[in-house]
Amino acid sequence: MFELIFFSLLNGIVTGLLLFMLASGLTLIFSMMGVLNFAHASFYMLGAYVAYTISMYLGFWVGLIVAPILVGLMGAVVERYGLRYVHRWGHVAELIFTFGLAFLIEEVVQFIWGKDTKAYHEPEILQFPLFTFFGQNFPAYKAFMLLVSIGIFIMLLLILTRSRVGLIIQAAIHKPNMTAMLGHNVPLVFMGVFGVGCALAGLAGVIAGPALGTFPGMAVVLGSIVFVIVVVGGLGSLTGAFVASLLIGLLQTFAIALDYSVNDLLQLFNISFDADSAFRDLWTLSLPQIAPILPYLLLVLILIFRPTGLFGNRET
């Protein structure tokens, strides 16, 4: 039991931190422009694919550095020539634009790289078990993912709270007009944050590609989960996004690891049902089965009962 909890905890933290890399950029973009970027996870996918192509010629490590930069540039271009143009039609049009972009990027990825899963692997240096615990291996690549995620988190925190750029970004999040009045180029800040956010998503894609698979559906798998994190964490709150990422990561891994069903719960109270009724699926529901719907349940509940999110101070 302890072994199960230990590994679930580790895996949960790895997943959570990976999600945070996506969510941190998204939450900054969302709180600044008020646009929930549906295409954010698509940049994550682009990161994985670009890094795969680079790694075929120049190796994994070059891809790790270059791919996020390229994806960040793509993001900046999308903001400058797409989103800023659509802004004149209002918020709904912006939301639909990012939605269409997500659809388009998926098609483009299929057009360029094809529909099959790409053989994008971790570098050979990292292909060994880091330690063995109760007979279970913990791969070194996961530890590497953990390290990169923590490094990014600390860097982001330092930049946002300790540097001048961070101060301007924070000001632009809360009072964009006032910041512009003080002589800062707020549209440039928007473009920069959008680009950096996309670059972070791309980096997440680069390191997640070998672990979770590089295929055209990878954006859809993670896309909606990241929204859940942003909404649950609260608008404009990086701490909230961090806590929510870990929460969702742990929730998903533990729900899969712990195999309890409604039947077990009912048996605690000595209630049993016949297995043939139309509601039979309800009694045999087990935690691993409902694991995929838990985040969405959380999302809907949060939006109903606490629209500001866990740590937010503004309504979505």
Binding site: G34, L36, G82, Y85, V86, W89, H91, V92, A93, L95, I96, F97, F99, G100, L101, F103, L104, E106, E107, V108, Q110, F111, G114, V220, S224, F227, V228, V231, A278, F279, R280, D281, L282, L285, Q289, I290, P292, I293, Y296, L297, L299, V300, L303, I304, P307, E315, T316
Partner: protein, 432 residues
């Protein structure tokens, strides 16, 4: 105020025949279409079109008329489909007697029930909160559909048989043409109902809440209730569309309520134009045509649809119907004829450019996916070598020369457009 009262009263006193003309035309069109396109694939496409018209119109009750952007509208469509297919099976088992052609009612009812449940908490606010709740509910339903196998049938879905039950004048809907007329009848009835709904005070208030929720509150309407009414009605009609889907295809799967279907309906409504009642109809017709015709010719039709969608959102947010309506001023001033020549002048190079871009994408796709050594490909009946230098030069020339000429012609089109749309006061003054 008096201005508005006057126009509305004059609209009401318009001769009945004039109001009814478009509807009679619509009815005749629905009846005549299967005689023009009588092939099996034509019927198949038109059946799908009818279903999507109802679905897209019900979606537009939210987005276009109520200002609610939903990313989970397939929930009501899918649930309506599943409910209908279950009732089809009950009828087949003889559990009770009910005519098959009224089955979509059950789909509508379950859509309504879920609309009431979900609308009770999601319609509190519009905008991003509503969009997020709809997305959450949509994902929730799509994931649950794989868990509750008894109702949703798991991965393979639930199938039924539409030929059982009491018959209507000896027709058991075994043939595609029968189901076409059934769908056409439902389309006519639901489109009429949805149009009438947009004319009721509830539909009018939905527009008001969309435009300025605060002001609507001050007039004395609860924005939440107004949205709730639209939401429930929209769920009802989406459920009917789902029921027709079940009748037409005799199978409903998890795919019918997942995020992809929700995205498709948004796409259809938006490309058609959400600001007009007829917009989603245009969008549904166009999308179905693209889906069934384009997919015969090319593997990458979804890429084209994606490009079309993004371009529509960026440059023509009023949709295709919006472009058509833009010409109504020139039409009323009888100056539409002066636009034909400029359109032809820009149309030819623009078509060349589009053909070049399409050929570029197709050729790359062919180079990437064809078997080793297979370099011969054909586009629109023209066969050429996909690795040949000449074909690439032709393609690139089409793109760049076409693009350059299109840019050159833009100016004369703009001038012609401005002359055609000049306020009539000046021309009347100079004419008389």
């Amino acid at each position: 105020m008096s201005e508005i009262a006057k126009t509305s009263s004059s609209a009401a006193s318009r001769p009945l025949l004039k109001t009814l003309t478009p509807w009679i035309g619509f009815l005749i069109l629905l009846l005549a279409l299967p005689n023009i396109f009588s092939s099996n694939s034509g019927l198949y496409t038109m059946n799908l079109m009818g279903i999507f018209i109802i679905f897209a119109l019900s979606y537009n009750m939210l987005l276009g008329q109520g200002g609610m952007l939903s990313f989970g509208h397939a929930v009501y469509f899918g649930l309506g489909g599943f409910m209908s297919v279950h009732f089809m099976n009950y009828i087949e088992d003889g559990a009770f007697v009910f005519p098959m052609y009224l089955i979509p009612i059950f789909g509508g009812l379950i859509g309504l029930v879920f609309g009431i449940i979900i609308g009770s908490f999601s319609t509190r606010r519009a905008g991003t909160v509503f969009a997020m709740i709809s997305l959450g509910v949509g994902e929730l339903m799509a994931s649950s559909s794989l868990i509750f196998v008894a109702f949703f049938g798991g991965e393979e879905g639930v199938s039924g048989d539409r030929t059982t039950g009491p018959e209507l004048a000896g027709i058991n809907f075994g043939q595609d043409i029968h189901i076409y007329y059934l769908i056409a009848a439902w389309v006519f009835v639901t489109v009429t109902l949805m149009y009438l709904f947009s004319r009721t005070p509830a539909g009018r208030m939905a527009n008001a809440v969309r435009d300025n929720a605060e002001r609507a509150e001050f007039v004395g309407y609860s924005q939440r209730k107004v949205r709730f009414v639209s939401f429930c009605a929209s769920g009802f009609f989406a459920g009917i569309a789902g029921g027709l889907f079940a009748l037409n295809f005799e199978i409903v799967t998890e795919e019918n309520l997942n995020a992809l279907t929700s995205g498709t309906v948004l796409l259809m409504a938006y490309i058609g134009g959400v600001g007009f009642f007829i917009g989603p109809i245009v969008g549904a017709v166009l999308f179905t045509l693209l889906q069934s015709i384009l997919s015969n010719y090319t593997d990458i039709w979804q890429l084209y649809v994606g490009i079309l969608f993004v371009l529509t959102v960026m440059y023509v947010p009023q949709g295709l119907t919006g472009i058509i309506v833009m010409h109504s001023a020139a039409w009323r001033m009888k100056r539409l004829g002066s636009l034909i020549l400029p359109y032809i002048r820009i149309g030819i190079p623009a078509l060349a450019m589009l053909a070049g871009i399409a050929a570029f994408l197709e050729t790359i796709h062919h180079v990437r996916t064809a078997f080793e050594g297979d370099t011969l490909m054909s586009l629109m009946g023209i066969e050429f070598d996909s690795h040949g230098v000449v074909s690439w030069i032709v393609i690139l020339a089409l793109v760049f020369v076409g693009g350059f000429l299109t840019r050159m012609q833009l100016r004369q089109l703009r001038d012609a457009w401005e002359t055609a749309n000049k306020p009539p006061a000046q021309t009347e003054g100079s004419g008389s």
